[in-house]
């Protein structure tokens, strides 16, 4: 099935892209790296702060209810070296966000891929 192959291809690409940095994270224990989730959502807040930048976003679930989610990125110095500023995301921006789910309740993600409001994949790490 085409969609399945596309998803598998995406999974392979994701692994090759991120396996180098996969476990380079002090808080890995908090995330389920076997459980990758992808959402289309709306940014409600973007915090460009140490130690990890945070994206707060709203997602409509299958029941049509609004869910509040939090996604974690790397440090602001690193994002700045990847071209970000504190204005790179703003409330109201439509994003597609993929990440590993937090294990201990709450709606949280360790973000692994992000498609920004312009439809472009945003660079998440410094070169």
């Amino acid at each position: 099935m085409k969609i399945r192959s596309l998803l598998v291809f995406a999974a392979v690409a994701l692994v090759l892209a991120f396996s180098g940095v996969m476990f380079a994270h002090h808080g890995t224990a908090a995330y389920d790296t076997q459980n990758s989730l992808t959402f289309k959502g709306t940014v409600t807040e973007f915090r460009f702060i140490n130690p990890h930048c945070q994206i707060y976003f709203d997602v409509k679930n299958d029941k049509g209810e609004l869910e509040h989610w939090q996604g974690e990125l790397t440090a602001p110095n690193k994002l700045a070296r990847a071209g970000w500023t504190k204005h790179s995301l703003n409330p109201g921006d439509q994003i597609t966000i993929t990440g590993f789910a937090g294990k201990y309740g709450g709606h949280s993600l360790w973000i692994r891929k992000l498609i920004g409001p312009g439809g472009q994949s945003m660079q998440l790490f410094e070169d």
Binding site: I3, R4, L7, V8, A10, A11, V12, L14, V15, L16, A17, F18, S19, G20, V21, M22, F23, A24, H25, H26, G27, T28, A29, A30, Y31, T33, Q34, N35, S36, L37, T38, E45, I49, N50, P51, H52, Q54, Y56, H68, W69, Q70, E72, A75, P76, N77, K78, A80, R81, A82, G102, Y104, G105, G106, H107, S108, Q123, L124, F125, E126, D127
Partner: protein
Amino acid sequence: MMRRLAGSAIVLSALLVIPCASYAQYGTGKALPAGKKPATDTGKSAPAPVHDLSGVWMMRNPPGANRGYTNFTYTDPKTDPPALTAWGEEKFKEAKDSNGGAYTLDQTNDPVLTRCYPPGTPRVYFHPYPFEFVKGGKFVLQVFEYDHTLRRIYTDGRSLPTDPDPSWMGYSVGHWDGPTTFVVDTVGFNEKTWLDRLGHAHSEQLHVTERFRRVDRDHLQLDITMVDPKALAKPWTTTFYYENRPDWELGEISCSGDYLDFDKFESFSFKNKSEGTK
């Protein structure tokens, strides 16, 4: 939708165990398409300048190296763990590191994450931020972006102190060994730091030797040797690899300013809390 995601998650997790052999890139930075090298690895680098370590340096260990950021320790803990003394072994058992799926932030006793203590030498190299050297009169400063950490390396020919006062980062002396290798010896450590991010311990007897070898204009190799008769049964050695980043400038990171309030920024990661949203 969920079944498809579960299917790819299974593929994803299966593929995680495959070494990154197809990864032509050096180290743990931004993903490049397989076969593409980072900008500095053009094969066209210039020769290393003489007696010169200037520039901003960022760790880029070869993929599959099983050290540095990926394993939080110096050598592969499965195939090449350090030889510890009985004392070192006992101390290591007490450590609750928060890396690689071990303990959560509210469970860990990592002195850096819980108290913002200075990371110590050479643990500071595991914090994934760049460093640079700044020349003074009788010393060179090694300035790390992580938490403003600073080391003063005396270059006026003095010897290491024989009875040093204990300190967090140690007392360092350095000299050039040939045109492109800078050798630093450090003693005088307190026992409040970990050797790495897994919690291997050291004593006040720790002596660290670093050989900074600028192999060409854009690449630095750092040989680290740790000798500690109380904690290590044999010297522990590794090599870390760095790339020069001419366009980077070090920013600010304050551990005590920004990291200590874990519940404000990462309450979702606490095993014993159930908050998730802001």
